[in-house]
Amino acid sequence: MSLSRAFYAIIRRDLVLALRRRSEMANPLLFFVLVITLFPLGIGAQPNLLEAIAPGIIWVSALLAAMLSLDSLFRSDFDDGSLEQILLSPHPTSVLVLGKIIAHWLVTGLPLLLVAPLLAVFLGMPDSALSVLLLTLLLGTPVLSLIGAIGVALTIGLRRGGMLLSLLVLPLYVPVLIFAGNAVEMAGSGLPVDAQISILISILLLALVLAPLPVAAALKMSIN
């Protein structure tokens, strides 16, 4: 009955589930790609303008795609009683929940990272900004999953929690958006971005350590 075994079992289970519900899991990625491809059409033939706002477009789309995917984090477990079984496990809930969040990021966050270079080229982003864009996505999207998990855990028991979830979570996403967007923009102009990256790393570490505890507590509250 080791904790690490339970932790990996949860991650593996959620990845298998994601694989068997492919269409549901592809939604956030499709949304991300669609929104970004619509911008050049809406703005028209103004490559300079597009290039200037590209970091913002990509990051806002990533943020909304993450919001869209949040409900799937605990919904099916809540509906079929698996969440009750996870909470009844003698293992610390926060660790098991962290496993679920990691699996969620692997399924919804990581794919954004893989298609982002293509979309960056599409928006005419300078090459110098590309690596920084990927780095900010790598550091930022796990934070979106971690913070989002707190919001979902709080609202999962509500019938129409969607609106409340956005209100709870979006303000907490703002620091990530500001620092990540700014880093990509600065990199595009050839300026150093060490400070922004350091801040993103610290936000990620802080979220990694602090988020699972309130998520576990909120799930216990939501389930009664």
Binding site: S76, D80, L88
Partner: protein
């Protein structure tokens, strides 16, 4: 065994015992200690209204997950499936099973994990006559081995020689 009319609080009481709800007054203790500080969760298993199994996973995957979350019990997965008459269904997706088979699968979870206390909320729902008799046999077996069961049921329980303590909530 908890008895009482619909709405008398049977399920609520069971959920309080599981720690899902806070009692308005009083405290839940296990072996003299408050449940949160004790080994309670390592020694109990709960089957509620929801089966707690994933329909997109196979029978085997579901039981392996249950096993990863708690201590292994007396029965291996194969033996437990045999016991609840689901042998041969290992690789079947749960969504292809009938409601009664799903119920038996969620009860198989009780056998593969090590636990003294079974908390069962209407365990006989959607089971046929043979299914009910089977679960009653398993319950007698568990009690004879020194186990303990708290349950609610609208079905007349037939546990042979086992002394059933009944608490009426209405």
């Amino acid at each position: 065994m908890l008895e009482g009319k619909n709405g008398s609080g049977k399920t609520s009481l069971l959920r309080i015992l599981c720690g899902f709800r806070e009692p308005d007054a009083g405290e839940v203790r296990w072996c003299g200690e408050a449940v949160n500080d004790s080994q309670f969760y390592a020694q109990m298993a709960y089957v509620g209204h929801l089966d707690g199994i994933k329909k997109e996973l196979t029978v085997l995957e579901n039981l392996k997950m249950a096993l990863a979350l708690s201590k292994p019990g007396l029965y291996s997965i194969e033996a437990a499936l045999d016991k609840v008459h689901l042998a041969g269904f290992d690789d079947a997706l749960v969504q292809t099973l009938s409601a009664g088979q799903k119920r038996r699968l969620s009860l198989a979870r009780l056998l593969i994990t090590d636990n003294h206390l079974w908390i069962l909320d209407e365990p006989f729902t959607s089971l046929d006559k043979q299914g009910i008799a089977l679960i009653e046999t398993l319950m007698v077996e568990h009690v004879v081995k020194g186990g303990m069961i708290i349950l609610t049921s609208h079905h007349d329980l037939d546990l042979h020689d086992v002394d059933v303590q009944r608490i009426n909530l209405s």
